[in-house]
Symmetry: D3
Subunit: 246 residues, 6 copies
C-alpha cells in the first residue's frame, strides 16, 4: 500500500471533460487525481517560418502553470521575462508526442496550437497534458474535417503518457503524485501508442542509478497505465467516427 | 432588449465558487455569464524591497489570460518575453482596488499575492477579477486570522466592480459582454464599496465624447450593479464572522 | 490658499512653445509651472501591422522621463530592459485621447508618432503631455496638409487634459503639483474637447473612497481648467486656419 | 556497413585532451570523430540562492555552440537575448548526469560550473559533453583535494554517455554522426556508470514508434559504447589516485 | 569655406547653461550649434556591487537621445528592450573621460550618475556630452563640498572633447556638424585636459585609411578646439573657487 | 626587460592555423602567445534589412569569449540575456576594420558573418581577432571567387591590428599580455593596412593623460607590430593568388 492508499499498480481517478471552454476548436479539462490541466487546440491558418511553402502543417505546444497551481506560489514566467528550462523541456516533449501520431502532410499548411495550462499540480502534469491534449487535438481536427473533408484523416494513432517510478521505499509504482514524485529514487515518463509501442522513454536516476531489471519492471507497469489511459480517451471520444474506426 | 436578450439594467448570472483549487490560502472561481476567472490569494512572508522594515504589508496583483480564453488565440506573454500594456493597466487597477479596502499596517510585513487568471473571456474580465479576488482575499486573511488573531481585522469594507456603457444603439447598458464591449461608444469601469462610494471611476469615449448627463446615468447604473455584486459576495462569504459583522 | 500660494481653482502658469526642436514635423515644449515636456509629432509613411491595407492611419504614443526629471533619479527603462506599468498606462491614455479627435480614415495609411519626453516633472506630466502633444499633432498634420491637401481635414476637435483632486486638507483643487499629488486623497485626470464633453474620466480614491457629490465638484473644476488650456492651445495655434475656423 | 564506413557497433575515434586551456581548474578537449567540445570546470566559492546555508555544494552546467560549429551558421543566443529550448534541455541533462555521481554534501558550499562549448558539431554533442565534462570535473575536484583534503572524496563513480539509434535503413547503430542522427528513425541517449547501471535513458521515436525488442537491442549497444568511453576516461585520468582506486 | 559657411578651424557657437533643471545636483544644457544635450549629475549614496567596501566612489554615465532628436525618428531603446552598440560605446567613452580627472578615492563611497540626454542631434553629441557633463559634475561635487568639505578636492583637472575630421573635399575640419560627419572620410574624437594632454584619441578611416601626416594635422586642430571649450567651461564655472584656483 | 621576459618592442609568438574547423567558408585559429581566438567567416545569401535592394554586401561581426577563457569565469551573455558594452565595442571595431579593406559593392548582396570566439584570453583579444578574422575572410571570399569569379576582387588591402601601451614602469611596450594590460597607464589599439596607413587609432589614458610625444612613440611601435602581423598573414595565405599579387 502506498502513502496515498493506492496499490502499486493503481492509477488515480481520471476524468476527461470535452468542450470545457467555448472558443477553442478543441478544449479539454483532464483531471488525474488532483492534477488538473486545461488543454486547448487552436487552428491557425499559417505555419511557422521554417515550413512556409512546403504544404505541410505543424503542431506547436505550450505549457504553463497558473502561479498557485503549486504548493508554493511560482513566479509567473511573463513577469520573469523568460520561460524556464523545465517548461521548455515539457512543451518540447508534448509537441514531439503529438506530432508523432499526426500526418503533418495531410494537415496542409496549418498550425495547430496546443496549450496546456495547469490549474492544479499534484504530480504528472506533463503526462496528463499529453493525454488530455491528444483529445483536444482530435476534436480540433474533427472540426476541420467537418468543414472540408481531409483526403486522408491526419491522425494515425492514439497517444498517451504515464509516469512510473521507484519510491523511497523501493517499490515500483504507477502514476506518481506530487509527494511520491519528489521523493522517488527513479522517475520515468513513458509515451505510448494504442499498439503498445513507445514514442518516448525518459528515465532518470534521481537518487541512485538503476539496473536493467528495474527498467524492465518499470516499462511493464507503464504499459498497463497507458492502456488504461487510451481506453479513457476512446471512451471520451466515442462518437468520433473516423478515429475510433481505426 | 439587448442582442443578448438582457434588459438594459440586467446583469449576467454571477456565480462565486470558493476553495476552487486546493493549495492557495484563498481560491475563487468567479463566473459572470461566460466570463470565468480563477482568483487566488497567496501569502508570502515578506514585503517588496521598497517596504522593507516599515512594518506594513502589501497586496500585489497579477492578471493573465490563458491563450485561448479569447476568440482568437493570444500569444502568451511569457513567449513574447514581456507583459503588454493592457495587462499592466488591469493588474494595477486590481491592486489599487483591493488595497483601498485593506489596512496594510494591520497586515504586518507580509505580501498577499492576488493572481487573476482568465479561463474564458466574454467581456468584463477586469471587473470580474476585482469582485472575485476580493472574496479570495477575505479567505486568505481569514486563514491568517485563525492562525494568529489580528489586533485589528485588516479588511475595512467590501469592494466590487462593474462595467457600464453606451451601446452602438445609444442605449445605456449594464455589465457588457464581449460583443457589446467591442462595439460600445462609451465604456466605463466603476469600483465601489458597500457604502456606495467610489474607489475608482474610469470612463472612455471610445467612439465619441460623452456629456455630463450621460456620465450621470452611467454612474447610477453602476451603483445598481455593484450593489448586486456585493450582495453576492456577502452571500458567498456568509460564515465569515468578522467581515459580515461589519 | 494652497501650500504653493495658489487659489483652489487656480492653474499654474502655462507656456506652449511651438517649433521647439528642428527635425520633427511638430515639436512643442509645454511648461505648466515647473513641469516641462517636449512633445514631438513625427510622420511615418506606414501603419502598424494590424492596420495594413485598410487605408486608415494611426497615432502611436510614447512617453518617457529623462532620469533626473524627478527628485530622485529614476533608472532608465532602456537599462532595465522594459517599460514599466505607469509608463504604459500613460502612453495608452495619451494615444486614446489624441486618436479620439482625429479622423484616422482621413489620414490615409500613415502613422503619426507622438513622443512626450518629460524634462522636469512637478506633477501633471500626463495631462501636460496630452495638452502639448495636441499642438504638435496639429502642426504635423498642417505640414502634411500643405504638401498634399487632405480631402477632409483630419482633426475634428481640440483636446486637452487637466488634473483635479481633493487635498490632504480636504480642499478641492485644480492642477496639482508634485507635492499636492503625492498627498492627495482623491486624484482625477479629465480629458475634454472644446465643447466641454468628456473623452476620458479617471478618478481614484488614493486614501479614501469618494462620494457622488465630491465627484461632481471635481468634474466642475476640471471643466474650468480644460477651458483655459484649450484657450491657450488656440492662442498658440492662432495662424492655423483650418483648425481654428472650426 | 554504414555510410561513414563504420560497423554498426563501432564508435568513432575518441580523444580526450586534459589541461586544454590554462585558467580553468579542469579543462578538457574531447573529440569524438569530428565532434569537438571544450569542457571546463570552474570552482566558485558560493552556492546558488536556493542552497545557501545548507552546507551542500552544487554543480551548474551550461552548454553552447560557437555559431559556426554547425553546417549552417546558428544565430548566437546572446544576440537573440535568450537560450533556446534545445540548449536548456541539454544543459539540464549534463547537470543531472554529473550531479548523480558526486556527493554534494562532501563538496561543501561551493559551486562547480561546468561549461561545454562546442567548437565543431558532428552529432552526439550532448553525450560527448557529459563524457568530457566528467574528466574536467575530476581534475577540478582533484585540485580542490590537493589544497584542502576532503574528508570523503566527493566523486562516487564514473559517468559517461553515448547515443544509439535505428538508422534510415533500419540498422541498429552506435554513436551516430550528424547525418545519421538527422535521418534516424529512433534516437536514444544513454548515460551510464562504470558498473553499467543507468543514470538516464532518453529514447525518442523520431519517425516511427519502437517496440520493446528494439529498445532492448539499443540498450545492449549503449552498454558497449559506454564501457569503451569509461575505459578512455580512466586512461586519460590514470594518475588520478583517489578516483581510479575506487 | 565649408558648406555651413564656417572656416576650417572654426567651431560652432557654444553655449553652456547651468542649473537647467531644478532637481539634479548638477544640471547643464550644452548647445554646440544645433546640437543640444541636457547633462545632469546625480549623487547616489552607494557604489556599484564591484566596489562595495573599498571606500572608493564611482562615476556612472548614461547617454540617450529623445526619439526625434534626429532627422529620422529613432525607435526608443526602452521599446526595443535593449541599448544599442553605439549608445554603449558613447556612454563608456563619457565615463572614462570624466573618471580620468576625478580622484575616486577622495569621493568616498558614492556614485555620481551622469546622464546625457540629447534633445537635438546635429553632430558631435558625444563630445558635447563630455564637455557639458564635466560642468554638471563640477556643480554636483561643489554641492557635496559645501555640505561636508572634502579633505582633498576630488577634481584634478578640466576635461573637454571635440571632433575633427577630413571632409568629402579632403579638407581638415574642426567640430563637424551632422552633414559633414556623415560624409567625412576620416573622423576623430579627441578628449583633452586643460594642460593639452590626451585622455582619449579615437580616429577612424571611415572611407579610406589615413597617413601619419594627416593624423598630426588633425591632432593639432583638436588642440585648438579643446582649448576653446575649456575656456568656455572656465567662464561658465567662474565663481567655482576650488576648481578655477587650480 | 619586461616581466614576461620580452623586449619592449618584441611581440609574442604568433601562429595562424587555417581551416581550423570544417564547416565555415573561412576558419582560422590565431594564437598570439596564450591568447587563442577561433575566427570564422560564413557566407549568407542575403543582406541586413537596411541594405536590401541596393546590390551591396555587408560584413557583420560578432565577438564572444567562452566563460572560462579568462582567469575568473565570466557569466555567459546568453544567460544574462544581453551583450555587454565591452563586447559591443569590440565587435563594432572588428566590423569597421574588416569593412574598410573590402569593396562591399563588388561582394554583391551577401553578408559575410565574422565570428571571433575567444578560447583563451591573455590580452589583445580584439587585435588578435582582427588579424585572424582577416585571414578567414580572405579564405571565404576566395571560396566565393572559385564558384563564380568576381568581376573585381573585393579585397583591397591587408589589415591587421596590434596593441601598444605605456607600462606601470613607464616603458613603451608592444603587444601587451593580460597582466601588462591591466596595469598599463596608457593603452592603444592600432589597426593598419599593409601600406602602413591607419584604419583606426584608439588610445586611452587609463591611469594618466599622455603627451603628443608619447603618442608618437606608441604609433611608431604599432607600425613595427603591424608589419610583422601582415607578414604572418601573407605567409599563411601564400597560395592565395589574387590577394598576394596585389
Amino acid at each position: 500500500m502506498r502513502i496515498n492508499g493506492r496499490k502499486e499498480d493503481e492509477m488515480r481517478k481520471v476524468r476527461i471533460t470535452r468542450n470545457y471552454t467555448k472558443y477553442a476548436e478543441g478544449s479539454v479539462l483532464i483531471e488525474i487525481g488532483d492534477t488538473k490541466v486545461i488543454c486547448t487546440a487552436s487552428i491557425e491558418e499559417k505555419v511557422p517560418h521554417f515550413l512556409k511553402g512546403r504544404g505541410e502543417g505543424w503542431i506547436a505546444c505550450e505549457y504553463a502553470m497558473i502561479p498557485r497551481a503549486t504548493k508554493v506560489r511560482k513566479v509567473r514566467e511573463s513577469s520573469r521575462g523568460k520561460v524556464d528550462g523545465r517548461t521548455m523541456e515539457i512543451q518540447r516533449l508534448i509537441g514531439r508526442a503529438l506530432r508523432s501520431v499526426v500526418d503533418l502532410n495531410a494537415l496542409g499548411e496549418k498550425t495547430i496550437w496546443i496549450d496546456c495550462d495547469v490549474i492544479q499540480a499534484d504530480g504528472g502534469t506533463r503526462t496528463a497534458s499529453i493525454t488530455g491534449a491528444f483529445v483536444a487535438l482530435v476534436d480540433a481536427i474533427d472540426k476541420m474535417n467537418r468543414c472540408r473533408r481531409f483526403k486522408e484523416y491526419p491522425i494515425k494513432d492514439f497517444v498517451s503518457a504515464v509516469s512510473v517510478g521507484i519510491s523511497r521505499e523501493d517499490e515500483v509504482i504507477l502514476d506518481l503524485d506530487y509527494i511520491e514524485d519528489s521523493e522517488a529514487k527513479i522517475d520515468m515518463n513513458i509515451v505510448m501508442t494504442s499498439a503498445g509501442e513507445f514514442i518516448e522513454v525518459q528515465g532518470t536516476g534521481e537518487k541512485r542509478p538503476f539496473t536493467r531489471d528495474e527498467l524492465n519492471i518499470l516499462l511493464d507497469l507503464s504499459e498497463k497505465g497507458n492502456k488504461e489511459l487510451i481506453r479513457m480517451q476512446k471512451e471520451a471520444l466515442k462518437e468520433n467516427y473516423l478515429l475510433t474506426k481505426k
